[in-house]
Symmetry: C2
Subunit: 197 residues, 2 copies
Amino acid sequence: MARPREFNVDKALEGAMGVFWEHGYEQASLPDLLSGMGITRGSLYKAFTDKRTLFLTILERYDTMAVQPAVEVLTNEEVSEGMQRIEKLFHSILEIQNKGDNRGCLLCSAAAGPANYDKEIGKVVTKLLEKMKTGFAAALLASNAKKQLPAKKIESLADMLVTNYVGLKILVRSHASNGMLKSSVNAVLSTIRAETQ
Amino acid sequence: MARPREFNVDKALEGAMGVFWEHGYEQASLPDLLSGMGITRGSLYKAFTDKRTLFLTILERYDTMAVQPAVEVLTNEEVSEGMQRIEKLFHSILEIQNKGDNRGCLLCSAAAGPANYDKEIGKVVTKLLEKMKTGFAAALLASNAKKQLPAKKIESLADMLVTNYVGLKILVRSHASNGMLKSSVNAVLSTIRAETQ
DNA sequence: ATCATTAGGAACCGATTGGTACAAAACACA
DNA sequence: TGTGTTTTGTACCAATCGGTTCCTAATGAT
């Protein structure tokens, strides 16, 4: 009935995510996005409305591509000891940086950027950070604490871990030394271990 | 010998700091800066070279206006118990947000933004974060730990506190709830207390 | 009063910004 | 082989970006 789309929507979104991840929302220009997505202006506006809507779409994609997997690490019952799950997540942050990837976290950069003045973006950012928190809470609940921690304590520690996660990812983006980050991660893990034993 | 400057350099820099603080480096436009500083283009470029150089100048100003005072809180020997100094700093973050100030921290926003692709800005950002770290380390050293902590442990905890500080400030900027931040702060403080006792 | 020197301010610069208009192209269906 | 419908790509848009030019204004020294 009509001309079919020539590009793969998923690949295009994958490309857009890469561009936003690297440059951040505001610093990602339309030409950046177009070349990263392998499409032209007409197609972008026809398929994705505009830059801001595209970014909102990408945030949801980042949920499934990055947040969800992180939460799965934190809730993976195959690793019975919850602390080990948290360790795994934080160590993976160090590993990613060690491989030379200094993009940090698209979500955290959005928190520092457009979430401040764009209510809708802000809401999504908060929602995804909340999701991370539930992951941390689940892991803490599964920790072999000598005495089971009260719910309020777990929530509090989960909030702290989210804060720490955001801080780490921002520091990665600012090219902080791997040694400093490693030292920081060791400290959070050991302090939490001390608290849960 | 020549026409004297009509504006007060210090007031102009104060205005520029306010604009950069609110909008971040990239999002602060020249008209924003000019009206915030109360001067015109000619004066800005004559006195401060260009936007980027102005921002570098402002970062140094932020050092004396915000980082230095924070470090002074952390090293204030009138508060003999180091943990109390750390508490004071973190509680002040909550208080600032409670007053409706969601700008966060100019330094932390720079870490999330231009520090990633501008080496010189990145160096200054790292330097100032390092300064924060020395403050935290001094406070930890002055904590009444049952047994004095080894130097390496102190450094590690200081790195963690810097990470947490950055995370908190970014979360403030993203309009995270005051309850979540309070919960997070309570957790860091109590976990560190547990470690140092 | 003259002069050298600097500040101020507006006009202007090319480049880039995100976004739109529209004609050509490619398909499904009749 | 039309015909209707949608995609694609390009030309174009006004607005804004950071930055420069240049003329005038204001000063202190001579």
